[in-house]
Subunit: 238 residues, 2 copies
Amino acid sequence: MDVARSEVLVIGTSVACRSCQARHGVVCGALSAGQLSELGRHSLRRKVDAGCEIIAQGSENSFYSNITRGVVKLCKVMSDGRQQIVGLQFAPDFVGRPFVRESTLSAEAATDAEICVFPRNLLERMILETRELQRSLHAQALNELDAAREWMLTLGRRTAEEKVASLLHLIAAHAETATSTAIDLPLSRAEIADFLGLTIETVSRQLTRLRKEGVIRIENIRHITVPDMDALAKKISG
Amino acid sequence: MDVARSEVLVIGTSVACRSCQARHGVVCGALSAGQLSELGRHSLRRKVDAGCEIIAQGSENSFYSNITRGVVKLCKVMSDGRQQIVGLQFAPDFVGRPFVRESTLSAEAATDAEICVFPRNLLERMILETRELQRSLHAQALNELDAAREWMLTLGRRTAEEKVASLLHLIAAHAETATSTAIDLPLSRAEIADFLGLTIETVSRQLTRLRKEGVIRIENIRHITVPDMDALAKKISG
DNA sequence: CGTGATATTGAAAGGTCTCAACAGGAGTGG
DNA sequence: CCACTCCTGTTGAGACCTTTCAATATCACG
């Protein structure tokens, strides 16, 4: 965590875009070939280690980025240190808040990740020029809003066990192989606690509880398998 | 609550628009004079009593509306009856989710309110035609997203006393007279509990606690005054 | 002045947190 | 290769906060 660093890999080009996870994502999928090429010429691929901060809470937004690999957590911290993860973003999500000066939250790589960084002015110009891009960003904002409100229900009204089950369900839903029931946790126990509004001890206890109930198998700290996804879903009341 | 009803008052016209709270709000402020007139000709003013449901969770979106008076709560309910208010909307906010078939939450008048109802097809056409309208709706979505995430911090990490103080602070921030410290609660104790992820008893206890500490005065059930707004803010850890 | 709905208050139960000890794994150096 | 250390995660016991259940109070309304 303390040695987390980021490294600029290559200058993005149209060539690099062709095989990019985010090529048909929120931003790039909304651009014309010409725009994509222009954006590509001015973009940078950055490799960010787990724990590396991409955007700091309260900092000025000077760039935007696409997640091309890995998971990014959006985090709010209080002055006394309490903190809450308010969103998880997966490739090929867009990260940043165009036309807004200051970020109200921090974005940090949860896993080793790769992002494609766009200069602020260029992207803002393209948004103004391209209806489809604006529509696409609007759609992502609405999806994030739905996710945030769904999570508010979890934070406010679900028990610790339901919360943990909800998280596993959420992550399973984002796993690439939909049929597979093997879950790669992108978060440490402390991060799970910060996402669920619990302590790490409670998270740990609820995980072992789900294990003893036979709902999950804990292969190791970061790998969990779900023999019966319906049984997991039943742990999450409606 | 059980006798809540809604009543169509008048057909909106350009004349009615002139004195409307929402005239320069999210939707109407983004339209040209011609568009405003067209929208006005096809809109209805509806008066909705407190407790009246405007949009039902799981229902089809067949119309959209502007709040022209009062407060609307956005609510999610679980199959076992637990429920969570995931947002409060004040005049002149826009209510609804264009281009989405089914609502994932319910919208209900918290106070007696008035809304201006737009037909689905017309508004969706205008959004497609009018960049400024889309931009404006995008901006509201982002504001709601920020509010939702801020509230996630409250739900996940604040104590009961901090939660109640946060709610009072939120409502005071939306009060028309900024200098006044008199708060008109738009919510019952049960609704406050559903917004804060608490029980009504805990809400009640925390309110009397704040009263005994001298932070608030409870004039009556729906009216609270805050002698020292800074003292209230201090109850909400950063 | 009853009546019902909403709100407050009290006492006990329960869930989550706090504090503390222990376990497991990765990396390091002997 | 093994001991050592550090870090993360697990488990236990007791405390604390919030909930639950119950009784009482307050207010609007007929």
